[in-house]
């Protein structure tokens, strides 16, 4: 818990009358940056669809591939969301579908549909730190973490590659899968370009990088928008040497998905324009 102690010491040092106010101001702006980052990364558009290719690569270079289509709908910006996932590869899970209704205020609802036995079932969803389909990403990495779950501090501003970034330190308010996270947030489009996750021992555990960012256009005329999107991402477990590389293809935003598109009917029979 060294980082926490360091931080406590810093707060104590600044415990003069004016310094407390300074601390508050900095904290608020860090929250604002993280909120904007979450909107840009996990809430872009009113809805979105993309085809993800995930390569799970072990230390020796052995590779396994998952191909899936993911759809997302924001129930409200920054609020609850619904996700739909359809597996294309590998063969033993082909056509399997997965649905998540994500709530900020309570546990998510998750369902799986196994077409080979025509079975829809709820699955236990308590562990958002569980691996997503065996990858180095957790469920929480995929669907986002509530900004209010951590306290955020702007540590510095620095250049990362070609981009200006805010470097944010986030400490969980309650025990979590990480003890500290350092994020490099693009100061222009607010996408996280890099994240370091530290474990309970304070050691570096996982590193996320956004390896390629593309501007995806949506809508026409006055509705035209551009959503910067991390189309190549990597999560590396530095302790095991295992990493997961994701490329996101055929991204579209603002498709006009309806609430009832995220229902049992679609899990059993996804519309062909979603999955082909």
């Amino acid at each position: 818990m060294k980082p926490l102690l360091t931080r406590l010491a810093a707060i104590l040092l600044f415990a003069g009358a004016g310094a407390i106010q300074f601390g508050h101001a900095l904290g608020a702006s860090a929250d604002e940056i993280m909120t904007r980052s979450q909107r840009a990364f996990h809430y872009a558009g009113s809805d979105a669809k993309g085809r993800l290719t995930m390569e799970l690569i072990d230390r020796g270079g052995g590779k396994r591939v998952r191909v899936l289509t993911m759809l997302r709908r924001n129930q409200e910006d920054g609020g609850d969301q619904k996700y739909f996932i359809y597996f294309h590869e590998p063969g033993d899970v082909r056509r399997l579908t997965f649905m998540v209704w994500k709530y900020l205020a309570r546990e998510d609802d998750r369902w799986i549909f196994v077409p080979a036995v025509d079975l829809i079932r709820r699955i236990a969803a308590e562990d958002k730190y569980a691996s997503f389909v065996g990858s180095d990403f957790t469920y929480e990495d995929v669907s986002g973490r509530d900004v209010a779950e951590d306290t955020h501090t702007v540590v510095r501003e620095e250049r990362l590659g070609e981009r200006d970034t805010f470097v944010i330190e986030s400490l969980p308010r309650a025990p979590s899968a990480f003890s500290m996270r350092i994020s490099w947030i693009d100061s222009e489009n607010f996408l996280p370009l890099k994240e370091e996750f530290y474990d309970a021992q304070g050691e570096l555990h996982r590193v996320f990088t956004a390896d390629k960012v593309e501007d995806i256009a949506a809508g026409e005329g006055r509705e035209a928008r551009v959503y910067p999107t991390a189309t190549k991402r990597t999560m590396k477990n530095v302790k095991t040497g295992h990493r997961t590389e994701v490329s996101v293809n055929a991204v579209t935003y603002d498709l006009g998905l309806e609430d009832d598109d995220f229902a049992e009917r679609r899990m059993r029979r996804p519309p062909s324009d979603w999955i082909r």
């Binding site: 063969g91 033993d92 036995v117 025509d118 009832d260």
Partner: protein, 424 residues
């Protein structure tokens, strides 16, 4: 599994006819997938049953699955055909097994599926209340992969989806029984063991014999709630002897049955909680005195599932069957016949642990019946060698106080199995 039905044959002809319709002509896209699968299961007890297929191996089969999907942009429809070519080394037999073959068509809020299809209802985990659809118990007891537990039905399914209520209606003109273990390959309890003249009386495929199932469902207070109704027949056979004193012939019969039930599944107590109940109205024996026809009964299930730590899930269930007319049943039972309990209950536990980025899976499913004091343990270890190749090693361990109870009868059928699967 019974041979190809006329319905399916007609469907196959229909689908393979290129001149089906103008808009169907050129735009069909056909996707062909499949897998090769080997299932080998050896009896570990050293005993070999006397039946014609009694071997040290319960299963020794190679399958090739062809999985065809065809669709077109012209209409909201798709066809799907799943065909297994099977070589059964135990029975020394080659055969084609049509697992599923159907046409999907969507019109507005209605989805139709016509043809042979697998249907699953209810919230039980390997326990069935409102899931009245055919099952292959041999697969479950000898280590075929889970999808082979279900047998397709030939019929028409219509699903209606709205914000307020969803409905699913299934009509099955052709009766498909469960595949139950037989004395050919298994040691089992048989009240008529000495009778060699065995017949099967399958219901005719007529309008009057058409089975009908209805499911209504919607979300209520965070739970997925379903109501079910079914009018059809018992899937597992009753045994009708030609005379009770000195039987010379026994016929397997499938008596009329209606089932009414409810289920609910949702989040509670930090996990997923499931409830299901059903009433089995055995229409030909409401008095409960006909030995060949199962008694009416009430079934109830409660289940709970929770992730205890990353990649580890625990599931537990309690299930009970309550016989309607136990006294009448007792009176009808000849001396020497095995008696089932009035309250027949089962506890199950499922443990699942994934390891190594979900390439390894360790699991245990256990049935234990307090009423009969018998059990079935199903441990399994599976490994995904690559994205295409997987291997599973497992076992079925039966036992119990008596050899006349549901699991106890298979005491000498304990087996260890190996599944090898290659996807293409």
């Amino acid at each position: 599994m019974r041979p190809l039905s006329p319905l399916i044959a007609a469907l196959l002809v229909l689908l393979s006819t290129p001149s089906l319709g103008m808009e169907f002509d050129k735009d069909w896209v056909i996707d062909v997938r499949g897998f090769a699968l080997g299932n080998f299961s050896g009896r570990t007890t050293g005993h070999v049953p006397a039946g014609p297929d009694g071997r040290a191996f319960i299963l020794g089969e190679e399958r090739v699955r062809l999985d065809l999907t065809g669709w077109t942009d012209a209409v909201d429809a798709q066809i799907r055909i799943k065909l297994d070519g099977v070589h059964d080394a135990v029975a020394d037999d080659f055969e084609a097994e049509l697992r599923e073959a159907y046409l999907d068509y969507t019109a507005g809020d209605l989805d139709f599926r016509l043809g042979r299809q697998i249907a699953t209802w209810g919230v039980g985990d390997l326990l069935f209340l409102n899931d009245v659809f055919p099952k292959d118990w041999v697969s479950l007891f000898s280590g075929r992969p889970l999808e082979y537990l279900k047998i397709g039905v030939d019929g028409l399914r219509a699903r209606y989806s709205t914000d307020f209520l969803n409905a699913e209606l299934l009509a099955i003109p052709r009766f498909e029984p469960d595949t139950v273990p037989s004395g050919k390959r298994f040691f089992l309890q048989d009240n008529y063991a000495s009778v060699t003249d065995r017949r099967e009386d399958l219901p005719d495929t007529t309008l009057g014999n058409t089975e009908v199932g209805l499911r209504l469902y919607r979300g209520i207070g965070g739970f997925d709630v379903s109501a079910y109704g079914y009018r059809g027949r018992w899937r597992s056979p009753g045994q009708r002897a030609d005379n009770s004193e000195n039987p010379a012939r026994v016929t397997a019969i499938y008596p009329p049955l209606s089932v009414y039930g409810l289920s609910a599944q949702g989040h509670a107590a930090g996990g997923v909680l499931s409830f299901e109940g059903s009433y089995y109205d055995s229409r030909d024996d409401r008095g409960g005195s006909d030995l060949a026809v199962p008694n009416s009964q009430t079934r109830f299930l409660v289940g709970y599932q929770k992730q205890l730590w990353p990649e580890f899930t625990l599931g537990a269930q309690y299930y009970v069957e309550v016989m309607d007319d136990f006294d009448a049943y007792k009176r009808s039972l000849p001396a020497g016949f095995a008696r089932t309990a009035k309250y027949w209950d089962i506890v199950t536990v499922r443990l699942t642990q994934f390891l190594g980025h979900q390439t390894w899976k360790l699991s245990l499913f256990a049935y234990y019946s307090p009423a009969d004091n018998d059990y079935l343990l199903q441990p399994q270890l599976s490994y995904k060698v690559s994205d295409d190749l997987s291997v599973a090693l497992g076992g079925n361990v039966f036992g119990g106080e008596k050899r006349t109870t549901f699991f106890g009868q298979f005491d000498q059928d304990d087996n260890a199995y190996l599944n090898l699967r290659y996807d293409f």
